[in-house]
Each structure stands twice: as structure tokens, then as C-alpha cells.
């Protein structure tokens, strides 16, 4: 393995800008009072304090992306429009995602299992994944709303990353995680970390130990499912939900999408956009029937998917990485940790009651 590298604080931005000459560099920058992942340029105001407001998922699954382009033309001598040309528009740009937090990077592993599932390969996502180096930045100051340690992660974890940056006195220690990350680093004009590796490890260890504990939220598959028909529970949980969808749009593991066509004259595109299971329209059928008519059913699906259905299908891995964005940004302060804990308590209480 390539030895670790080091970069001093004041060299970071110039290095990122030099990278940006040949590939897109996405990094957390200040924009209109928020910190969001955006293409970096010389005017960008890099913000590496805490967690960005939105997750980094748009780097691999853009909010809106063109899948196909099409063009109608008049057939020879036929007045109706019958000739049609359709072209796929695959991503072709190399990218460097800098400053994703370990939870954001782990979110990509949640995507990988679905979008790169053997015979079912989403070529748009997979191409972007192949062309993007994910450089995570270990956390040094987790927020009260962070709970990566309760969902199988940690503030210095490397799941889903190619490279890990760890803040140390005066700069960052940079360690390769994957072969791709290693090959990338080998080409960079960065100095060796020399004796600083131990310091980086200590930083990560201290931060991990400083995080408040709490029951792990995994292994609740059965409990959540057992409450499926418990209208009272889900009704209570969802009572104040506004169905605004902020929780899923900001979540690094929510990956549902819609596909729609846009046409202008003879030319058009088929685009894919993020979608959101908290919305009434998501499952509305032609007959007017809606299997998730109420917000209680939609909340049940969101929590159920993250903590029960997804883990059931994917070896117990949760579809929540504990970033806490849904807690921070929910206008009515829903707390996903509390919902799962309540679900478990309720299911256990019911179980005991049934056993009495």
C-alpha cells in the first residue's frame, strides 16, 4: 500500500483548484447561507466545519439528469412525424468529491447494492461511480444529531470512500482506502505523511470515543414489520408530519426517482429526478386508489424501508447512516432515532403482552 500523504491547511485550496483544471471537483461550499456540495472554483468559499446541509448524493445521483435525448423528424414524403432518433447520454466527466463525511460516503454503499446489483446495473450511476474519486473527511466535531455509531458507522470510517482525509495539527493526513484511491494519490504532488499517521489514528479514536453511546438501531427489522398494521402507532408518529419531503431529499441514502419527458418542438429529453415517498402522488394509481393514502402509511414506508425492508434484502445493512440531516431540517422536528426506538419498545411490549 502506498504510504499516507500530508497536505498543509494553506496548500489545500490551491491543490483542489489545480485538480479542478482536469476534473470536476465537488466540495462543501457556502452558498446563500447554506453549505452545499458544489463544483469548486477560485471564488468558492470552502466550508469544512461540520456536516454540509444537503448530503453529497447528488455527486453520483444528480437531482436531475438527462438519460436520453430524442429527435423527431418528418418521414420522407409522409406528413406525420414518424422518424425518431433516440440517444443515451452517459456521464463522461471525471470527478473528485472532496469533504464528504464518512456517513455521506457510506450512503453510497447503500446505493451500490441497489444500483449496481449484479444483473441490474444502472449504467448512469455506475459510470459516475467509476469516474468519481470519493474523498471523505473524518469528523472531529460530531453534532448532537449525529448517530453514525448507532447504525454501523463511525466518524472516521472508510466505507464507500476511496480516500480518507483526517484533520491533524496544521493540515490533513491523507490515506488511500481503495486501489483506485491509491492510484489517484500516487499521481498527486503531495508530500509523504511520514510520522503523522499515528496522530491521525489518535484523532479518529478520540472522536469515536467522544460520541455519546446509545442502543444500536440495527436489528429492528422484525420489530418494525410487526408494527405494520399498528395504525395507532404510525398515526401517532406521523401526526405532525407535513409531507414536505425534506427528510428524503436531504438524506444520503434515499434513492427513489421519477422519470419524465420534456419536449420542445421536435427535440426532447427523458430526465430522471429525485422522488420522495413522503408525497401523496408517489403511489397514486389510475383508479384513484392509493395504497399509501395517509401520511401514516408513508411514514411507515420510509422508516420501514430504512430499518426493515432494505436490511432484509441487503444482509442486515441499514438504509440509514446516521447523518441526522432529517432531524436537523425537519420543520416539525421528527427524530428518526426516537421513532425506531419507540417502534422497538412498542413491539417488545406487545410481544410480552402476547406472551402473558
Amino acid at each position: 500500500m502506498l504510504t499516507a500523504r500530508y497536505i498543509a491547511d494553506d496548500k489545500l485550496m490551491p491543490w483542489l483548484l489545480s485538480l479542478a483544471e482536469t476534473r470536476q471537483v465537488l466540495a462543501p461550499v457556502r452558498q446563500g447561507g447554506q453549505t452545499l456540495f458544489a463544483p469548486l472554483d477560485a471564488d468558492s468559499q470552502l466550508d469544512l466545519e461540520g456536516l454540509a446541509d444537503a448530503s453529497a448524493k447528488a455527486a453520483l445521483l444528480p437531482r436531475c439528469e438527462t438519460l436520453l435525448e430524442f429527435h423527431y423528424s418528418k418521414g420522407e414524403g409522409v406528413p406525420s412525424r414518424t422518424e425518431l432518433e433516440v440517444r443515451e447520454t452517459l456521464p463522461d466527466r471525471d470527478a473528485f468529491l472532496f469533504g464528504a463525511r464518512p456517513c455521506d460516503a457510506k450512503g453510497f454503499t447503500v446505493f451500490d447494492r441497489v444500483y449496481d446489483g449484479g444483473s441490474r446495473r444502472d449504467i448512469y450511476y455506475c459510470t459516475r461511480r467509476d469516474k468519481t474519486i470519493v474523498a471523505a473527511l473524518a469528523c472531529t466535531d460530531p453534532a448532537d444529531t449525529c448517530f453514525c455509531n448507532r447504525v454501523g458507522g463511525g466518524p472516521g470510517d472508510t466505507d464507500g470512500s476511496d480516500i480518507l482525509f483526517t484533520p491533524v495539527e496544521g493540515g490533513y493526513v491523507i490515506e488511500p482506502v481503495t486501489e483506485r484511491g491509491e492510484a489517484f494519490l500516487a499521481e498527486q504532488p503531495l508530500v509523504e505523511a511520514e510520522g503523522r499517521l499515528e496522530e491521525a489514528r489518535q484523532v479518529r479514536k478520540d472522536v469515536a470515543e467522544s460520541m455519546p453511546g446509545g442502543d444500536p438501531l440495527g436489528g429492528a427489522q422484525g420489530e418494525v414489520l410487526r408494527l405494520f398494521d399498528d395504525q395507532e402507532f404510525w398515526g401517532g408518529v406521523a401526526a405532525k408530519c407535513l409531507s414536505c419531503g425534506a427528510c428524503s431529499y436531504l438524506c444520503p441514502t434515499c434513492y427513489c426517482f421519477n422519470m419524465t419527458d420534456e419536449i420542445n418542438g421536435d427535440d426532447g429529453v427523458r430526465v430522471r429526478t429525485w422522488d420522495n415517498c413522503m408525497s401523496f402522488q408517489f403511489t397514486l394509481e389510475g383508479s384513484g386508489h392509493n395504497p399509501r393514502n395517509g401520511k401514516a402509511q408513508r411514514m411507515r414506508n420510509r422508516i420501514g424501508h430504512k430499518f426493515s425492508y432494505y436490511p432484509e434484502l441487503h444482509d442486515g445493512n441499514l438504509a440509514c447512516v446516521g447523518c441526522g440531516r432529517c432531524i436537523v431540517h425537519c420543520p416539525v422536528s421528527m427524530d428518526v432515532r426516537a421513532i425506531v426506538a419507540q417502534a422497538r419498545d412498542r413491539a417488545l411490549a406487545k410481544q410480552e403482552h402476547a406472551n402473558d
Partner: protein, 280 residues
């Protein structure tokens, strides 16, 4: 022409509408061939599988391939006009281009059904998925026992596949009964709701499978009727409808708990449905 990358799940094959059949006031049947002769020759599907039809500029929607794999001259889709895409599809004519992403989803357990009596109960556009299985079985007639079809629609004018009904009624190797909610003076068949007619017909549940498809309310009462006739949940097969987009289990729209209607369905036995979380 299409730039074809077989590994792109979302890139449809281009197809040409060969024939449009006006079935009823709001159902049209489209016979489509893929433009690429190799793709057409190599196209394989099983009865019950679906496809996404694209009208570029409007979008995609899911329809059952209701032709049979035993006759591959074209792929047939019957489409009820209900909204934006189906409205546009209904305006297309022979020669027009559409996109086809197929086959998707699972199929009827036609192999396990061999040697059994088969009872088909179809309502309205729900006859479409039954047609593919029925034709398949008629083309492999010796593999199956008694074949009974009960097909119902609102009125005689709402019966799709009317050009095939005389054959189905006359054939000696199957029993066909038709019913409508509202008859006309010259309507020679049943008048009455499907589940009631089914109970009158009283097909035997012994060594049999029932396949039913139609509006949710019809399915519900048909299953009740089948139960009274002695059919067990594992002998009753139906197809589910959910709003679908990707059709391959990624977009996350069509799940019921851990099952995705687009890849684990649309075909389920009533036994499987009862094991699913209650979110139909």
C-alpha cells in the same frame, strides 16, 4: 435508429406499430415489432411479463404483453385510455414509432400449472394478461386439463378481443362464458356480476388453478367466490398493479414491504399476497 447499449436498463428498443385494433370505446390494441430484426428474432418472454411502452415526449407506462410467446410475429399490448400517455398512444397509427422496454417482471407459473384444470376469470382490461396465458395454453393444449374462461365487462360494447370470442365460444377444448353488468336485448350470454356467474358455473377446485385479473373490487369478490368453491389460496393466481417507473426494482416506487411488484411480480398467488404486508 437508436444507439443501442444492451446494458442500459432505461434505453428502450425502438419499435414500429404495425396494426391498431379498436377494441372498445376506450381500449385499443397495438401490434408492435422491434425495428432491429435481430432484437425481434431474439426476443423472448414468458406469459404474464410486462413491458414499458414509451411515447417519447410524454413518457413511459407499463402494459402486459398480451400476445403469446408461441406466436412471435409481433408484440401485442392492449391499452385502456386513462391519462396522458395512454391518450397519446391512442392517437398513434401504423408506422409510428414507440419505445419498448421488455420483458419485465415475473410470469405466470405456467410450468407448475401443467396437468391441471385452469379457470380464467377476467374483468374488463384485466382480460389482457389472461389472454397471453390462455393462448399459450391453447397452443400447448395437451399439457393442460379442462380450460374454463369467464370473461365479464360492463356492457357488450366493453368486451375486448371480440374478434376472438366466437372462436373461444365455439372451441370444444375449452368452455367460455361471457357476462355483462348491463345487457342489450340481443345479448345471448349472462347478465350479472362476475363472482355471481362464477358461483353458478361452479368449476371444480380439484386439481385446478384459477387465474383472475380485473378491477380490485372484482378481484376481491372473485376470490371470495373461489374460496366458496373450495379453491385454496395457493390455487388462486392474480396480478397486481402498482404505479411503476423503472420497472427493474431500483426507483423504489412499487414496493410492498420487501417485494417489488415490478420484479417480484406482477404475478402472485393469493397465498403470497396474504404473506405480504397489508398495503395493496
Amino acid at each position: 435508429m437508436t444507439s443501442t447499449d444492451a446494458s442500459n436498463l432505461y434505453l428502450p428498443d425502438m419499435g414500429t406499430i404495425q396494426e391498431v385494433i379498436e377494441e372498445t370505446a376506450n381500449i385499443k390494441t397495438f401490434r408492435i415489432t422491434l425495428n432491429n430484426p435481430d432484437a425481434m428474432r431474439n426476443f423472448r418472454f414468458e406469459p404474464g411479463q410486462v413491458g414499458q411502452l414509451s411515447v417519447f415526449g410524454v413518457g413511459e407506462s407499463t402494459f402486459v404483453i398480451n400476445s403469446t410467446p408461441t406466436r412471435m410475429d409481433y408484440l401485442q399490448f392492449s391499452v385502456m385510455r386513462v391519462g396522458e400517455l395512454t391518450e397519446k398512444l391512442h392517437k398513434l397509427r401504423p408506422g409510428d414509432q414507440v419505445g419498448v422496454r421488455a420483458p419485465l417482471g415475473n410470469s405466470f407459473p405456467y410450468k407448475e400449472m401443467r396437468g391441471k384444470d385452469i379457470v380464467f376469470v377476467g374483468g374488463g382490461i384485466g382480460m389482457a394478461p389472461l389472454r397471453t396465458l390462455l393462448l399459450y395454453m391453447l397452443d400447448n393444449r395437451d399439457d393442460y386439463g379442462k380450460i374454463t374462461l369467464l370473461y365479464g365487462a360492463r356492457s357488450p360494447f366493453d368486451m375486448a378481443f371480440s374478434y376472438e370470442l366466437p372462436d373461444w365460444l365455439e372451441r370444444e377444448d375449452m368452455t367460455t362464458e361471457l357476462t355483462v353488468d348491463n345487457g342489450t336485448p340481443d345479448w345471448p350470454h349472462h347478465v350479472g356480476l362476475i363472482p355471481n356467474v362464477l358461483k353458478e358455473m361452479a368449476p371444480s377446485a380439484e386439481n385446478a388453478f384459477a387465474v383472475t385479473c380485473g378491477p380490485p373490487i372484482m378481484i376481491k369478490f372473485t376470490i371470495e367466490a373461489l374460496h366458496t368453491l373450495g379453491f385454496k389460496d395457493e390455487q388462486i393466481i392474480t396480478t397486481l398493479e402498482k404505479r411503476m417507473k423503472c420497472g427493474v426494482g431500483i426507483c423504489g416506487r412499487c414496493n410492498i414491504g420487501t417485494k417489488y411488484v415490478c420484479k417480484d411480480g406482477p404475478v402472485f398467488t393469493n397465498k403470497q399476497l396474504k404473506e405480504l404486508p397489508n398495503e395493496l
